[in-house]
């Protein structure tokens, strides 16, 4: 495999070893990300436990349609990412680029929907501050501190994901990946699926607290 010699960094014996090291490194990074978001989830749990009624009232003011739509968009984006890794594994450069572009397209779609949602939230006075207009203030305001901070931070991760995947797409279109060496595709995929997982938890915690009345 001399044509892949460039892909093998000098500190590794084999591509397999290099791949294992990258995978463990990325999971270590994701562990720090779990704890990074975990701090906010912890704060959310404590305040929801302290103010159950206010959190239920405040949660009803979020737009569950946009929230559900965005969950579907992110889950589908994850499917495109998984199919992109599959395309890389079987060596189909054309499909790899297409699936990566679909992943990015859905990621952008998520942010567009989020933009519409934020605009509506803003007009409905859901931003903590002098114009905040949800009953049971300031306890309901606490819910929206978490709402803006957690969705904002998640949105930032989506933005970073778009950046990473764009680089991978450009590299893919230059045919830099082969069935023997596609590690960067798989690693960026791990990050992207993680962003999806964070939203899987944000969705029920922010949008679905008290929808039955």
């Amino acid at each position: 495999m001399p044509e892949h010699a460039a892909a093998l960094a000098e500190q590794f014996e084999t591509l397999e070893q290099q791949e294992d090291a990258a995978r463990l490194g990325l999971w270590t990074f994701l562990a720090t990300e779990i704890l990074f978001f975990g701090g906010m989830f912890m704060g959310y749990i404590v305040y929801r436990h302290a103010y159950p009624e206010a959190f239920a009232i405040a949660s009803k003011h979020t737009n569950v349609f946009y929230g559900t739509l965005n969950t579907a968009i992110l889950l589908t984006s994850s499917l495109w990412m998984a199919l992109a890794v599959n395309a890389a594994q079987v060596g189909s450069s054309k499909m790899l680029v297409r699936f990566l572009l679909l992943t990015i397209l859905f990621a952008v779609g998520f942010l567009v929907v989020k933009g519409f949602e934020y605009t509506e939230d803003f007009h409905e006075h859901l931003v903590p501050g002098p114009s905040f207009a949800v009953p049971d203030r300031p306890r309901s305001e606490m819910f929206f501190y978490f709402y803006w901070a957690m969705t904002g931070l998640h949105g930032l991760h989506v933005l970073i994901g778009i950046g990473v995947l764009s680089v991978i797409t450009v590299l893919s279109s230059h045919r830099r990946f082969t069935p023997e060496y596609y590690n960067p595709v798989e690693m960026s995929g791990l990050y992207w699926h993680f962003v999806d997982i964070v939203w899987i938890f944000l969705y029920p915690l922010l949008y679905l607290i008290d929808r039955h009345t």
């Binding site: 463990l24 302290a50 998984a82 203030r137 300031p138």
Partner: protein, 126 residues
């Protein structure tokens, strides 16, 4: 060489995606009914199932070495430690000190005046 990581078929990915979408509809549907505290439990159980599907199949943890399982689990282990230790405090607070007087937390549940809640800055209006 291409068999280093087992290649998951496209069909498997699509089936998992369909399952995830079904679980999304399920979690939305369940939220329309009132199970009391059960709502949160059901929603979190569904979220954990969705996460497991994404991690095991999309993120290939199922097909990776046991060392990857350890690394993938480590973050959750520490998260569990943080949550359980913190809640062991907050869930067992029988009394809190208010204005220097010990009072039962249960007697002034969430509707106590804001300046006495956890939101109040230290030394607020007393």
């Amino acid at each position: 060489m291409s068999e280093r990581t087992s290649t998951v078929s496209r069909t498997t990915y699509v089936v998992i995606w369909a399952a995830l979408m079904a679980l999304l509809l399920l979690t939305w549907g369940m939220a329309q009914f009132d199970f009391g505290a059960g709502n949160t439990i059901v929603a979190m159980l569904i979220a954990v199932v969705k996460m497991s599907l994404v991690m095991l199949i999309f993120m290939h943890v199922r097909y990776n070495s046991s060392l990857t399982w350890v690394f993938a689990g480590a973050g959750f282990l520490w998260l569990a430690i943080m949550v359980s230790f913190t809640l062991s405090d907050y869930l067992t607070r029988g009394t809190i000190r208010q204005n220097g007087v010990i009072s039962f937390y249960a007697e002034s549940p969430p509707n106590h005046p804001p300046e006495q809640g956890p939101l109040a800055p230290h030394g607020g209006s007393r």
